[in-house]
Amino acid sequence: MFELSFIWAALIAFAVLAYVVLDGFDLGVGILFPFFPEQRDRNVMTNSIAPVWDGNETWLVLGGGGLMAVFPLAYATVLPALYIPIILMVLGLIFRGVAFEFRFRTQRWRGVWDWGFALGSMTAALMQGIALGALVQGIAIANRQYAGGWWDWLTPFSIVTGIAVVVGYGLLGATWLNLKTTGDLQARARQLAIYAGIGTLALIGVVSLWTPFLEPVYFERWFQWPTAFFSAFVPLLLAVCAFGLWQGLTANKHLQPFLSALGLFVLSFAGLGISFYPYIVPGALTIAEAAAPDSSLAFLLVGAVVLIPIILAYTGYAYWVFRGKVDPEEGYH
């Protein structure tokens, strides 16, 4: 249990979770763009995430770079297996990343970059969800290489997980806007959060019920004693978060819906962890098999243990500096 590889599995899982919840809400803001056609609203929406999106996306680089460092075999097999979704994801991230700057540098092309922001965010979210679904289904590996076809990732299950992530990020984005904005914009965000919340919960339900039937291992994990005892906690806590979300939105609270939505993601992620363990690529590679040599794991761990708390501290500080509602009249000057 105190193997370096397991510590690293936990750290990589943390990086991915941090990415999902943080970039989740700013991708969600992009996904919701089509529902807010007014320039004024869109400026406030992008202003609410402009100071933090770059830091949020850095967790994705840590997830990717970290995976190459500590689980190179997983990195070298999963990415070729997910070739097309990964390429589409990074292309989506390009369009939405540059839109932050570009949409303020032009009038004539503003609409183009707004659409790039919205479609790029949607594409990135959809592809992340599809990649997740494809990973849960399992990946064919032989001789330290991906051994499947180029379209193996595309299945009904992965499409459902893709849609689930889009809707879920939409929920995070809507509750973020509910937290950061005022007036009519906030009211519409709250309304959207209710729809997205219902959709997210329904899709979590579908994926949760579907997953155990994909692989016998998942079924055993979830429905057999004694692990079923622990896995029962997750749905229970999901219900608590769902109630918190509903209550917060209907009672017009600002922070509670966002935190509840984050809770839904954390718990779904924990559910995935229960399904995966001790595999890093389900059915094909265990955490220990995929791990880099101990000399690699130890070297990077020293830095991670010292630096991740520092990173969390100054990232938290940056959020603190830009706390509160976005003032549409003032900007941040």
Partner: protein
Amino acid sequence: MSFGQSAELLARIQFAFTVSFHFIFPAFSIGLASYLAVLNGLWLWKKDAAYLKLFDYWKTVFAITFGMGVVSGIVMSYQFGTNWAAFSDKAGPIVGPLMGYEVLTAFFLEAGFLGIALFGRKRVGNGLHMFAVAMVAVGTLISATWILAANSWMQTPAGFTTNEAGQFVPVDWWAIVFNPSFPYRLVHTVLAAFLTTAFAVGAVGAYHLLRDSSNRQARTMFSMAMWMAALVTPVQIFVGDQHGLNTLEHQPAKIAAMEGHYETHQGAPLILFGIPDDKAEKTHFALEIPKLGSLILGHSWDAEIKGLKAFPPDERPPAFLPFWTFRIMVGLGMLMLVVGLWSLWARFRKTLYTSTWLHRAALPMGPSGFVAVLAGWYTTEVGRQPYTVYGLLRTSDSLSNVDAEAIGASLLAFIVVYFIVFGAGVFYILRTVSKTPEGEEEELHEGPTRAAGITPVQQLEAEGKANV
């Protein structure tokens, strides 16, 4: 969509294409971040509003450049896995942690303080704002350090052993990071980034001086840029020479390709121009200076310089690209030196701000740093072929198990998207710097140039009518 090419060639073109774009932006943002820190520091120290105006002016350019650097970098961090899976599996245990440290020590630092540096002066006050600007600058330099450690290790691997799975296993991290070519490559590349920025800033200054030689901000930026050009270019030429000698020691085949030598010579000529032909194993139309090659590389008239024929054919890099990209880089370096010395002369004559010919010369030198950086990068990377990890892991053994069609299709997608997105970005940068660096209002706490991303709505609407 394989275009009749092999997966290996397409993957190499894709890597070269995406890394070229990615390299351009950091080369600029490394220099700009430090420039912004200096400008902000001078503003706080001297309370001269010209520095603040310049800070706000270049801040906008930095925001656009940095954003493009981030998104093109995400592509790189996943491309190792999609196209170069075998490399990732084998070299991941060494290259991976170095890049992991880059993320932990640099990327988060830059991203975490970027928002405050761009948008937060009023919220945190001058002191903390200065700290944030400095952290962004430090972050870019730390980032360069780690990625060049990784790249240098691929050029001159050290401090490792191999295991039964064929993976490189780290033994001595100190030896891995401080591998033989790392110090030279690091200094050479960081100075290149500073020079790139100096000539870009200098060209913008020259452009505005040509329109109005009394513009205070244009004068300040031109003067600062020309100090940089005059002082750093000679240092860079010296460092480049040292880097070349280091390459001769560790990668003699690369030097042979750069020099266009197929035969081994005692007293090798310096080939100024020619057309290296790998098939015929000779350089056509060579214009040579006798014995000078040996003098430069061996510091003696009769030093032995190995030619490409001294290496087995399957261990030779292709010669044409390294030969020509090296000459482009060196040629631009000499032009930079001329402009730098010219500026010193003009400064001495007190005509720095009025010498139209100097400004006309500095203007086309604006892109010179970018071209030189890319040319130098091609020289060293193509010169490493046919290996990814020099002498140990062949490029052909580094690939993913990928169909050429998949790589060709993604390459085409990258080309289309990059030209649209980064073409627009470069256009916006050019349009930004074509505006006069002049405060419309004398507002000392915050200049008129808005940060990208955070814009007061009413200001935006007012501007929309005036703007394109």
